[in-house]
Symmetry: C2
Amino acid sequence: MKTDSDNIIIMAQLNPIPGDVEYNKNKAIECIKKANEINADLIVFPELFLLGYPVGDILTRYPFIAQQTQDALEEIKNVTKNTGVLIGFAEINKEKFKKPYYNSVAFIQNKQIKKIIRKTLLANYCEHNDYRYFESADINPKERIIDLNGIKYGIIICEDAWNDFDFFEKNLYSIDPVKETAPLADVLICPASSCTRAKKEQLKHNMMIHTAKKYGVKYIYVNQVGANDELVYDGYSRMYNENGELSAMAKGFEEDFFTINLKSSNNIINSLPKGLELTLNSQKEFSLDHKPDLARTYKSIILAIKEYFKKNGFKRAVLGLSGGLDSTVCAVLLADALGSENVLGVSMPSKLTSDESKNDAKILAENLKINFIEVPIKDMHDMLSKKFEGIFEQTQKYFSERYSNSFTQDNIQARSRAMILWGIANEFSAAIPIATSDKSELYMGYATINGDMSGGYAPISDVVKTKLFALARWMNENRKNKNSIPESIINKPPGAELAIDPKTGKTLLAEDALMPYEFLDEVIWRIENLNQSINNMMKCEFLYEKKNILDEKTKLKWLNKFFKRLNTSLYKWYITPPGPVVDGRSINKIEFRQPIVSNINYSK
Amino acid sequence: MKTDSDNIIIMAQLNPIPGDVEYNKNKAIECIKKANEINADLIVFPELFLLGYPVGDILTRYPFIAQQTQDALEEIKNVTKNTGVLIGFAEINKEKFKKPYYNSVAFIQNKQIKKIIRKTLLANYCEHNDYRYFESADINPKERIIDLNGIKYGIIICEDAWNDFDFFEKNLYSIDPVKETAPLADVLICPASSCTRAKKEQLKHNMMIHTAKKYGVKYIYVNQVGANDELVYDGYSRMYNENGELSAMAKGFEEDFFTINLKSSNNIINSLPKGLELTLNSQKEFSLDHKPDLARTYKSIILAIKEYFKKNGFKRAVLGLSGGLDSTVCAVLLADALGSENVLGVSMPSKLTSDESKNDAKILAENLKINFIEVPIKDMHDMLSKKFEGIFEQTQKYFSERYSNSFTQDNIQARSRAMILWGIANEFSAAIPIATSDKSELYMGYATINGDMSGGYAPISDVVKTKLFALARWMNENRKNKNSIPESIINKPPGAELAIDPKTGKTLLAEDALMPYEFLDEVIWRIENLNQSINNMMKCEFLYEKKNILDEKTKLKWLNKFFKRLNTSLYKWYITPPGPVVDGRSINKIEFRQPIVSNINYSK
């Protein structure tokens, strides 16, 4: 029990459901009651907690939801006692000429709403579209201060904290709510719904250290945890002391009712995923050393899968096991997220599937203890090939321009497999099939529509191939059961086993159809992180070039091929199932849209 | 040739390609040369013409494109003579704390860029996300004036024109660029990229009349034409005189190099689609009389298909012909957009397909003179059913919860058909399959993933079922070849012919599986236009209730069913192929996003 000289703050690091105000409210009330019991000074919820985040366009289409969040405040009011409550909601704004809502936090105590603090800086980039719905509030520093038990808390809401003029090289806004608020406060409190992305943790950490030190204040950050469709919230709510030292840290990737004592120096400090602190150094150039980000990547995808299934009422996953890297990594992630018993791996060999691949798939399933069935598709393939002969003969009467070298045969196989997986998912309760496409291949459109691209969720759609290899190795070392992934799978050069390479007589390898993955992944990195054109890239030395001889002509050929394929992949991106955002930037629909009909000169 | 007392303005109502600066620039130069030849006073291009519109997030990811538009200005400069040029581009903004671009118009004459006018009001709702990229400029009324041959032109860019305080009941912005600019001008010029939507034409028309009269100025509106993915630009550039009378109107739904003479009262006035002027009256409540909007709907979808195919390099469409309304309407639209010879209708009867349906499909194809083949799927269905027996037996060992009444059989049929269509598209050059889902059924998720939902384009995905019936009748009356659609198709109650209704022993009808379409479509209308909750709707009398007895309990049951189905359809919306926005509001990804995991209490 707290003594008079303690100041107890509860970080209610919780996992809301977007739009489910009733659920979020009940969750809040339960926590407030617990906080009351220990007579905490304050309990803090993540940004917009009653509404959930992200909200998409639901506030616009269903405006009554904002009212629901306001009504929920009334109910919450009634359970409050001495313990102050800071909780986010969608505040209806009836002012003329303004957006219809504020992104607000209510301060409630002793059955009264004592203050409402509104967000000023509205993120409107990447996954954020706050400016579609919310009005930017005046900073009003005095209004942001809560005076409670002798301590002055200054409230800044998520993006409000991200505009320090000394810290950032480039600022998005001309005003800084922290600058105005911090001088009036002993402690800054930042309720946030900040999703995890590559390299963001270091930035966040450094920024918060900077702010705490600069103003000589304690800095408390309370983040949402969970995952909603594509966005993963990692939690890791925390406190820095006046010297910028991390002095408390909640758990990551799970809910935490986390208690800190402002007066104590013995608060719990849970640790970040191993290696994460190292990635700062790799920001400036592309690196094949994905290691520092693998634990975070693994945890992010696991949580994304868990939440997507749970929140949509699914339990089981069905996926094709080809013996290749993509489906293998997906299988491990699914087993860890859902439990082995809830995963069904389906080996669907065709005549092009090597015995090695078949065997690898089986061993993998055994190692993972997931359910496993074998459904050869030779009969389907034969039947369909024959049927298509007749169909094409009929069609040719009308459409004379027939490809001499079409992908029809490749696609029949991929689509037969998807047909089987969707059939199983339709027949058995709470099951969905999994799309196993990776980010490198999605960029290249190297995936079959209604085939391997298709599924209810796409766990690795934001993970490039070279990182997938690293992730596979990492999982072999770091999972409780070591070496579940057969070495042969990791060592095998990727290929879809859908067609024969006429040059070699063997199944076509992906790198022959595309380009070396080391090169390909660096192109992606340069687009997403440096926004480079082909000309820019021609002037830079790629990592691949440091290790291999690459003449200008081939480099240009690869770059042109890359962007040509990218341009024809836009349609595939449009219909790609949701999958977790993992990288710093992605082609996920939530953050990046490019018209399918667009035609860009990427050369510059 | 113009005389000294004439003032000739060219409305360059053109169709740009998003991101294709080279193409757009060349198009512009060609028109400028023509304008020079006739010694026009001024040539005006649509908003952001050099960049194309919409642009999605390409400015953020590929910033060099903005530079490309600025460089294009330099080239354009060199072809200008006495004829002034007003052309839109993405102006790079290096100011600190500001968005990186302005949505600007350059005024160029005699090889000089004489003025740059920037957009102030930035649309950030529905299909618009201008605030993600563009900085809002100060109004600067004097800077908006171009003094040319004795006439003062005031330039307002698209959304700048949409905030009159007298005209609109609710204004989005506190400032009105027109109010500040019009008093300084003789003529207002509004370059726009304004897509067509239900009821927008009347609003636009009334607003422009209002503005012209209020300020006693001529009002010139130059709109983009064409279609990009989902958005259709109808053109209809025009002029109103000082009395608010329409005094010139370019063509609709096609490019127009449209010449007007400010001094003449004999400018050409092309007419709007028939009936369109009537729809104002139907704004306030749902109506089954879709007639006033059918010509516009037809023209919009035709143009959308044409442009999507052309800009993506496709020529041919492949679609399943079931003998039902959806595929029938799609077939007519495709034949008219692409030419009959470029459409292949594939009849794919199963054992559940009635002779009538088979026959209807055939007659339709004959009437439309499209290519037609018949591919019975009984063999596939039998083979797959048998194969699935074995698969399900294996699976059942692991997943015990098997549905007693699954959709597996229904889906096998729909997916077999999609497999055939995609196979044909893969084998023959420049062909894509068509997704035939309509808006009512997409709302209800009444469509099969990788089945009828799947395709390269979804022409009727924003047309509700009751409107489709009306459209079918309208096309029978208004197309050159009358009555191409057999009456039996229009009169047949909709049903997917995928399953037997145990109650009747006949194939299950859609309205039995869902609810009456008249009711369903009104629910959609009330969500999209009035943002109503279930409670709101319970208090309103539906059109259906005026004609049928409907007790409260059944009404509530239907509404609950509607929203329950809607909630589980969100995933399907996420992967729906692009299709033209037609209605006032839609569930098209370009304008509406709702997290799949969201869980909304629609009751209120």
